[in-house]
């Protein structure tokens, strides 16, 4: 693993090499400075970003890349990785504040509270749909929680970009709908 000390890897902007995250990132990224879902999974595991929770599954990593993948390349550069790790840390502390018994899972009503605490204003019906999709036996593991947050964040921003006057309603054409939802 590359040690991000002084006089380390050539290139990169000043300060980047001292960022501990850069060490993890560059040890998996190729020459193109981009990482794919598999590499992201390795990177997150090595950097211990899941904390004491189980490492992220590949599908969740793929979702995380698509959340920030503005050029639809299916890969992530270092800046996006930094952004992602800040977001994950935020979600992780929300999750652990509800995982009071440190079981690595939270219950349905705690998920609802966590999601409200993050600023999403959802009805019980919408919450039920989300719960059904992401829970196992009424409990949600950290990886599923992250997966749920990524989807919520992505879908909310898709919706908002089509509801510019903030009426709470948006119009979708069929082709657009398919592409937008499948790109998740």
């Amino acid at each position: 693993m590359a040690y991000p000390g002084y006089g380390g890897a050539p290139g990169g902007f000043p300060g980047q090499q001292q960022d501990p995250l850069y060490g993890y990132f560059s040890s998996v990224a190729g020459q193109d400075g981009q990482i794919s879902a598999d590499e992201l999974q390795r990177c997150l595991t090595q950097s211990g970003m899941a904390g004491s929770y189980k490492p992220f599954c590949l599908e969740t990593c793929r979702l995380m890349i698509s959340m920030l993948d503005r050029d639809m390349s299916g890969t992530m550069g270092f800046n996006e990785f930094k952004e992602l790790s800040q977001v994950i840390n935020g979600w992780k502390s929300t999750f652990s504040s509800y995982d009071r018994d440190q079981s690595g899972t939270v219950e349905g009503h705690e998920l609802q509270q966590a999601i409200s605490a993050m600023g999403f204003n959802l009805s019980p019906q919408a919450m039920n749909v989300i719960m059904r999709r992401h829970s196992t036996n009424g409990r949600i593991a950290f990886d599923d929680f992250i997966s749920c947050c990524v989807k919520l964040r992505a879908l909310t921003s898709q919706f908002q970009s089509r509801d510019t006057s903030r009426t709470g309603q948006a119009m979708f054409g069929y082709d657009d709908f398919i592409q937008v939802t499948m790109s998740l």
Partner: protein, 185 residues
């Protein structure tokens, strides 16, 4: 019309299989002779051409499509539907796997989905492959191809339910949008 429901199965060139033939297959697949083919029995009977297990999510989707009694498997009557469904998909897959590689690459996927009536941007096919390709080959195997089409179909179905005037546009609230999509992706 702005859009239409894609893949009705292609014109049926095969005669329906005879019952004896189907029963033989059913018995071979129903290993524990319970009279019901479970997810795992169906998974073991199917091949995706890669020597790895058939996509379990696809197996679940197929069983749930034909399991009319919510029992978590299919009996012999329901199995006829499963057999036809898979045979139709095999025919479609072979049609579009033009280089006979056993995989559908981005170009072949574009031709298949365009053939089904979808109008999607070129870049988007790359996204689809990235999303569904479990073999990490940059192409989709048989089971992942079916899975991709199933999800596209489900999204189309949910869209149509909201598109009451069938003009290819829907207006939805934030809540409706989340509920529509969270169920499927």
């Amino acid at each position: 019309m702005a859009y239409h429901s894609p893949y009705k199965a292609p014109p049926h060139i095969n005669a329906p299989p005879d019952q004896g033939f189907l029963w033989n297959i059913f018995q071979r697949v129903d290993k524990d002779r319970s009279g019901v083919i479970s997810d795992s029995e169906l998974q073991q009977a199917l091949s995706n051409g890669t020597w790895t297990p058939f996509n379990p999510v696809t197996v679940r989707s197929i069983i749930s499509m034909f399991d009319r009694e919510n029992k978590g498997g299919v009996n012999f009557n329901e199995f006829a539907g499963v057999w036809k469904y898979i045979t139709d998909w095999q025919n479609i897959f072979r049609t579009y796997d033009r280089d006979n590689s056993g995989f559908i690459d981005k170009n072949e996927l574009r031709q298949a989905l365009t053939g089904f009536g979808y109008r999607l941007s070129d870049q988007f096919y790359g996204t689809l492959i990235e999303k569904f390709d479990r073999q990490r080959k940059g192409q989709v195997a048989f089971d992942d191809f079916i899975q991709c089409c199933i999800v596209l179909q489900r999204l189309t179905d949910v869209f149509r339910r909201y598109d009451t005037d069938q003009d290819g546009w829907i207006q939805v609230s934030y809540e409706q949008y989340l509920s529509m999509v969270f169920n499927i992706v």
